[in-house]
Point group: C2
Chain length 499, copies 2
């Protein structure tokens, strides 16, 4: 354990998960490491859920993390009814159900904003931070595991820190992190990153011996999932996207090395990265949030020279490969705090090509990434806004239909707006590509309907658009009484199609 806990004084603070969990009291703001199901604390959260089940008196806390975390935290706490407020992102079934039943409050935030808000005091004080680590240095600094997220800020701002030393996380992760915590204004300075592989900080999270209240040893692995195979629709979307990029190269607006890539997660993202592996593009670099299997594959084949992110989340199979080759990957990957990985300054400077997934898009180019049928929270906006707004190219992909063709992903008006017409440059479905740059709202509508909508819904969309142009003002034609009727119809009849 001496390579995991490098200061003997700290050995006294090693305790059971249950003892550490007892430090968490009712009404606290608890911050945890974790970004995707990687690098989040597991033993202490499970212990707290256990305690709450046994005890009669309920405790309610606000839970802040980097982004989503695994079921050991979000799931077990939602089921134990511990969470009063949650931010900034989640993907857990139990928690999502809880949120949509109105049993806990969820605050859906731009991920780059979170550490900033905490440092500025906008989200109250952090009572306790629980951080997963591979080791603690002699000075009491924390070597993070598979994600950085908002941990550096949480540690800095917390009254007390509980460290979970996870022995399933390889010690060789040390050196992959690049930790820098920007000052608050008026003391902020330029961030000197001009290439995705520039390092500007330390490889540990500054903490110090005094702040560490408890240390828990665990070996519960990151709760990563197996990859689902790439389906035909995702493959077609990927093909359309890659052809679009090729055309940009032909037009002289990009070179074969493209520009730093950001890619959301999920099956379309996987298909796109797999497609890039087979393309003529070369010497690629990534400036993204999450590094998944397909990106590791691209590193293996030297298609991708370097990747910067805030979390590594391979599949079960990918995790094995990652651990076996970790020393090679460590030279090709940097993990940064989410304030840096998603920073508008860097994204605008590098000229990132942002590729994210939409739930639905409307005929004028607005995108819904979060609320199904306007009310039901899916996961959250995540980093899609951070990247989209500041990207060199902002691309949204979606299958043109959902629910076996009953839902059109292209609608007259989105039922919730996360990315506005001002920010969305390109929409891609399996049907085709709508390049919206330089187009007025009416020109965008024609492009989106004709190129991206499913044939089953195209006539209905054209009909709406043509009647709207007759009935309303000429800039963004809408029939307000009908704009959201497709969603209403789906909720009433289970289909957007007019019978």
């Amino acid at each position: 354990m001496s390579n995991r806990i490098r200061n003997k004084k700290l050995l006294k603070r090693v305790c059971s998960a249950k003892e550490a969990a007892m430090l968490i009291k009712d009404n606290m703001n608890v911050a945890a490491s974790g970004f995707t199901p990687s690098g989040y604390p597991k033993a202490v959260p499970l212990a707290l859920a256990e305690i709450c089940k046994e005890n009669k008196e309920k405790i309610k806390i606000n839970l802040y993390t980097g982004a989503s975390v695994g079921d050991e935290l979000d799931g077990s706490w939602a089921r134990a009814d511990i969470i009063k407020k949650r931010l900034p992102y989640q993907t857990n079934e139990s928690l999502r159900d809880h949120t949509n039943k109105g049993r806990c409050e969820f605050l859906d935030m731009h991920l780059s904003h979170v550490p900033n808000y905490v440092k500025l005091g906008f989200l109250g004080k952090i009572d306790i931070a629980i951080i997963e680590a591979v080791a603690i240095t002699k000075e009491g600094h924390i070597i993070p595991s598979t994600s950085i997220g908002a941990s550096p800020t949480y540690v800095k701002m917390a009254d007390k820190v509980i460290v979970e030393i996870n022995t399933s996380q390889p010690l060789e992760l040390e050196g992959m992190a690049d930790i820098c915590i920007p000052q608050n204004p008026p003391y902020k300075r330029p961030l000197p990153i001009v290439l995705p592989n520039d390092r500007i900080g330390t490889d540990y999270i500054p903490c110090g011996l005094d702040k560490i209240a408890a240390i828990v040893i665990t070996d519960i692995e990151d709760n990563v999932r197996s990859l689902s195979p790439i389906d035909e629709t995702s493959e077609k979307i990927s093909e359309n996207l890659i052809n679009f990029l090729k055309k940009e190269v032909e037009l002289g607006r990009l070179t074969n090395e493209l520009l730093p890539l950001q890619s959301g997660v999920g099956s379309v993202a996987n298909a796109v990265l797999a497609g890039l592996g087979k393309s003529e593009f070369e010497n690629l670099v990534c400036y993204t949030e999450v590094i998944q299997d397909s990106m590791l594959d691209l590193i293996d084949t030297n298609k991708v020279l370097f990747a910067s992110g805030t979390a590594i989340t391979p599949s079960i199979e990918g995790l094995k490969k990652f651990k076996e080759n970790i020393k090679t990957y460590r030279d090709r990957i940097i993990l940064r705090p989410q304030e840096i990985s998603n920073h508008p300054e860097i994204i605008r400077r590098l000229g990132v090509i942002a590729m994210n997934t939409a739930i639905e898009a409307d005929i004028y180019g607005n995108v819904n990434s979060t609320n199904i049928m306007g009310s039901r929270m899916m996961n959250g906006i995540g980093g899609s806004g951070d990247f989209t707004r500041n990207a060199y190219l902002s691309i949204f992909t979606t299958s043109s239909t959902a629910k076996n063709g009953e839902i059109s992903s292209i609608v007259p008006m989105v039922s919730h707006h996360d990315h506005t017409e001002h920010d969305v440059m390109v929409i891609i479905t399996e049907q085709g590509v709508a390049d919206l740059r330089g187009l007025s709202p009416k020109e965008r509508a024609e492009k989106i309907i004709n190129n991206c909508a499913h044939p089953d819904f195209k006539p209905m969309l054209l009909d709406y658009f043509s009647r709207a142009k007759e009935k309303s003002y000429g800039h963004t034609p809408h029939i307000l009484g009908e704009a959201l009727s497709w969603h209403e119809r789906f909720m009433e009849k289970g289909t957007m199609i007019v019978e």
Copy 2:
């Protein structure tokens, strides 16, 4: 004229406005200087409109500017039916009418995006740039007049440049500009601005002798307007905003020097700045777009030490004062390209307090800044998105009602989304302040309805919210069939009030 045109070779290119206007051909992309009714070309546009009236054959062009411009350009060209497509912003009655009748296409863009898009080739090539100047240097570089806007990029990217030397613009403006044109990725570098008064460029727009195709001498003044007096509602909004800032100081989140201020234009903005003049805040600095009378007043009284913007647009009376004291103001004001004045990197770094006006806001904190009743373009998003998204504090102000109380500015769902729930931190009406930081959608709804809505509409909003909570999912409760019904009612009956 030798101090205005400093190279004798250029004298040969001096011609009449009509001769210069003849350079503009059908189907061209024409870019013009101008940001608010200041620093835009006047003589050549008027001459072109004249030519088009006389000639039988129509010409149609795309007009790109910094932001809005005066009637000599937007108005005369709209009335002459010359404009095919217009971007990125406008405030002209004739052009607005044209747009809303669908007779020209208007592209409503974030102002920081415009020069970037042009340099990247996303908006096609610039055939001709028409730039108002106070002088041309020996080397053929342009000393801009009262606005910078997108002119540096337009000059750089244009095939030909027409310069309007405006002798009504004082030569003493020379030295006020700080021109820097960031590279395209992957060659962008950090912008070394850490204080609003940092200079990073030249005081002229690089052009060169060869590019100047024609020079026109004119003395038509900037078409600025008189100020309307501050009304009671604006005064109350200003009071609420200043009290909110005082509370932030009490909470230790700001000092009495605040942070750099950005302020939109209009009567509320004027009232707020006037209010700051009477407040205990001191040593203020501004990092904003447009510098108006009230900011000059604050400079006069040393309340504001320094202001950075992209345009100076005083009233008729203010313009007189500005010209008389221009040498003093020149030490206290920098005019920058809109790519820099509105740059996400600088705004986030400086920690700007952004104060902008909303047309309407909804109970979840989404803001409409552009489309009245979802379809009718007012002016455009302007820089409000650039500042809001990256601000230390993003504040939106609006009167709680419009049209003599028939319209509620707080609605169940905005009819157009320009700023989403993820970006809006504070909403202020004459009724009160809703501080939305750290609140979930449902918590925001309660704050906004109770603190900001007009008493005439509060019960209706509470009723909608409570029924939505019963009927829909619990995250962002909405009744989609009713969400936009208030706007429909207004369009049918002239009031949002249920009879």
